[in-house]
């Protein structure tokens, strides 16, 4: 691969325009097929039996009655998914999460599954499965779980990363630490210090489409899987490994995906559906109910965070420290670690130290959710930053500008930054009209910054030029929010043809090389890089074919604006050949014309955003209303600006929901109390104002067009921005998210009591 990914600075023709997406008509007419919209002849209905207990040893499972029920074609338990993980601890956790082996570790943990001729029979069969549980003490709160006295969830786990090897097992699976300088000394130089503790509750990605798949296992050992996923290649690997198959024998087709946000990056039901199909010898469709989605799929961490920041009178931060405890569910994770890395990433700090603790709890296995772990850390840090600015008497924007990281700053997580956008987003906010708009009674304004790494990864695309000059682009990154449009734009740009000439599709796992999943804001970043590379490879062939057609040396042919042009005076009368003209002749000049690309898209380029919001608080009820919201974020280069705006708005809306109302509520019995959209309250249309956006373009030096990931960063600042706004409106610092009306009212009442 001789592909140069460096930013080249060019004028764009297609990139930056806003055409209609290629999958649009199917989606507005109901024709697009999502996970649950696919059916196969003879298909059975799969259903999963789930533990009602937060923590219990599985003594015995008797499936005999269910098996005897007419219409039941297969019943499986963990015994049907033997451990083939061969010491791979992370995969073992995935397997155990798909089907509990010795213990049920949370309310909703799968313990058995059935495949039957229809839904009613499957439901009845579940009732006939007898599971004998031995109840164990449970713990769902992150702080409680970290205590020495807490019930142990896994007695084989000893805390990693401690100086001394622990002698006793613990629910704290890992300690991680980041930073530089000497915070003790730094605090010694501070004139003002803010020290506070914060909590955030567990949230769910809340995609509207429940997990769904159709598995068809053939007696020849091959299988097909239709599934809604953020990464069908990763699902293939995981399923193949767990079922003991060769990856190439399992063909996974990604359906249209009805939202993922990190939650469709892990397998849950898919290995179960395959195992059911294998046992029944028929296709099995398995669709989670909404209740199952909440109880058993990907929530984020609940957290407890202590922050201490000190500054001099002139507004210079002298030291910053944070201790972060993140819940992982019942399996080890690295969620606090990410929080510890991102917490102070916006700032230029001489002395900084963050420590993360991963904590096991009897809740579902934590999954990624849009810039995973960063929003909670940003909430704690940005709240303390706001308070510190107030203490010093500085404007919160100016205070942040003074301390903002810039090119050459050593980041709090280690490396030195290249060109970054935190300063420009703050400057844009400072001069934004929103900051000057008047506020009414009981209204407050808040702002906050956010950081996310963005990632790239393994990527592969095929670009095939038809004999009529139309271009089909096959990509392997699932389109979660319009990437087929942006990638078509990129192909059109590079080839110099019209957007309408390109048709992009997401290829299945048997049609294209491996691709990492669409996560880490990598979809457009990575696949556009691979598309550019594939287009350049195709152009090389187009030039060769043009040279043949003209019978001249290929080095004399250049590619400009969609045409081969013969350069040099001796070819002056040859004119030019369009892509189409070359394609038409391709059968006679060497066969099909295509460009392929397999690459690792690294160097995704970190991303920053600053948000502003106005909130009104009803001091008698604690009710809040979001009056106005503005997002300013660096996109590197917005390939399809409308969809970039969409990412900004969507991330902000999710953050607003998280900040104000969304939370997992567990009862004393360890059962989830609100597994539905009625009481897990994501924002509805009437809850939100228009969300204004401002796209900044600070080119990423590691992408030919300067593209940075844009999907995730927008969810990082809202928790803090809203907390700051509520705190300003209500006159009391909010330290617990979500800031539901009861919490706000209690805080206001406590403040009233205190000031009496």
């Amino acid at each position: 691969m001789n592909f140069d990914p460096r930013f080249s600075g060019r004028k764009f023709t297609s990139v930056g325009t806003r055409p209609i997406r290629p999958d649009g008509v199917d989606k507005v007419t109901g024709r697009a097929r999502y996970g649950a919209d696919f059916n196969m002849a003879g298909q059975l209905v799969g259903r999963v039996l789930r533990s009602p207990h937060a923590h219990a040893r599985i003594v015995k499972i008797d499936t005999s009655k269910a098996e005897k029920l007419a219409g039941v074609k297969a019943v499986i338990t963990a015994a049907d998914l033997p451990d083939l993980t061969n010491g791979d601890a992370a995969m073992y956790d995935v397997l155990d999460n798909c089907m509990a082996r010795t213990k049920a570790l949370y309310d909703g943990h799968a313990v058995a599954a059935v495949a039957a001729v229809d839904a009613r029979t499957a439901r009845q069969a579940l009732k006939l499965i007898e599971v004998e549980y031995e109840l164990l003490p449970h713990v769902t709160d992150v702080d409680e779980a970290a205590k020495h006295s807490a019930p142990l969830i896994n007695d084989a786990i000893f805390t990693e990363g401690l100086e001394e090897k622990p002698v006793k097992p613990s629910n704290v699976t890992k300690r991680s630490q980041f930073g530089h300088g000497d915070v003790h000394q730094g605090f010694g130089h501070a004139d003002f210090i803010v020290e506070r503790s914060f909590k955030t509750e567990q949230t769910h990605q809340g995609y509207i489409e429940p997990h769904a798949c159709v598995a068809n296992f053939s007696s020849d050992g091959t299988a097909d899987l239709w599934v809604c996923t953020q990464g069908h290649f990763v699902y293939r690997q995981h399923c193949a490994q767990l079922l003991g198959m060769e990856a190439s024998k399992l063909r996974v087709t990604s359906s249209e995906i009805g939202g993922g946000f990190g939650g469709k990056t892990h397998v849950w039901a898919e290995p179960v559906a395959l195992a059911l199909s294998r046992k029944a010898g028929r296709p099995v469709k398995l669709v989670m109910t909404r209740d199952e989605v909440f109880r058993a799929s990907g929530p984020t961490s609940a957290t407890s965070i202590d922050v201490k920041i000190g500054a001099r009178k002139d507004g210079t931060i002298t030291a910053a420290e944070a201790t972060l405890r993140y819940s992982c569910g019942p399996y080890a994770g690295s969620w606090a670690e990410i929080g510890a890395m991102t917490a102070f990433a916006c700032y230029k700090l001489d002395n900084v130290k963050t420590v993360g603790y991963e904590v096991l709890v009897n809740r579902p296995k934590t999954a990624a959710y849009r810039a995973p772990s960063a929003p909670m850390a940003a909430f704690a840090v940005e709240s303390a930053v706001d308070e510190l600015a107030k203490m010093i008497g500085m404007d919160p924007v100016d205070f942040r500008i003074r301390n903002a990281a810039q090119e050459g700053t050593r980041s709090s997580y280690g490396p030195v930054y290249g060109p970054i956008g935190i300063g420009p987003t703050l400057e844009a906010v400072k001069s934004h009209p929103h900051m000057k708009a008047p506020l009414g009674k009981n209204q407050g304004r808040g702002m906050a910054c956010g950081f996310w790494f963005n990632f790239g990864g393994q990527t592969c695309t095929d670009l095939n030029i038809g004999m009529d000059g139309s271009v089909s682009l096959a990509v392997g990154t699932v389109d979660v929010g319009g990437s087929r449009a942006s990638l078509s734009l990129v192909a059109a740009e590079e080839l110099g043809i019209a957007y309408e000439q390109v048709k992009a599709i997401v290829a299945d796992t048997s049609s294209l090389g491996y691709n990492d999943m669409t996560d880490g804001s990598r979809g457009t970043f990575s696949s556009s890089m691979a598309t550019i590379s594939a287009a350049r490879n195709a152009i090389k062939i187009l030039r060769e074919r043009a040279a043949q057609m003209w019978d001249i040396a290929v080095d004399d042919v250049v590619w400009e604006k969609g045409h081969a042009i013969a350069k040099g005076e001796k070819h002056g009368n040859l004119g030019k050949l369009s892509l189409k003209e070359i394609a038409v002749e391709s059968g006679k000049t060497g066969g099909p014309i295509a460009g392929h690309s397999e690459l690792v898209a690294d160097g995704a380029g970190v991303s920053f955003a600053t948000h502003i919001c106005d909130i009104e608080v009803d001091p008698e009820t604690g009710a809040t209303r979001v009056l106005r919201y503005t997002v300013v974020q660096d996109a590197g280069k917005a390939v399809h600006p409308t969809y970039v705006e969409g990412q900004y708005q969507g991330g902000a809306a999710q953050g607003i929901g998280w900040a104000l109302n969304e939370e997992y509520i567990y009862g004393k019995d360890g059962r989830l109390q609100n597994p539905g959209f009625l009481d897990y309250r994501i924002p509805v249309c009437s809850d939100l104002p228009m969300i204004d956006t401002q796209i900044l373009e600070i080119p990423n030096p590691n992408h030919p067009y300067g593209v940075r990931g844009v999907g995730e960063t927008s969810i990082v600042p809202p928790l803090a921005a809203i907390a700051n706004a509520v705190s300003n409106a209500a006159g009391v610092r909010m330290t617990h998210i979500p800031m539901s009306p009861p919490r706000i009212l209690a805080a206001i009442e406590a403040e009233r009591e205190w000031s009496k």
Partner: protein, 81 residues
Amino acid sequence: MVEVTLWGSLGALAGGNSKVEIEAKDIRELFRKLAEQYPGLEPWIDKGIAVAIDGTIYRDTWSKKLPEGAEIFLLPRLAGG
């Protein structure tokens, strides 16, 4: 010879060093030599470590050259949502 900075928790496994000097031309060689010199790091390298070269994070490009004098920083290999 490049100087490699290890993040907090990793330093403990490299004999308490937060910085180590390694003769390596690319990420692949860096990982190989790190594992040779500090066997405690090997399981971590297997699980995944990212390398920041002058601030740009590389997770998978093991062929990436390590320029003389560049700032090399090891980080946990993260993923997003």
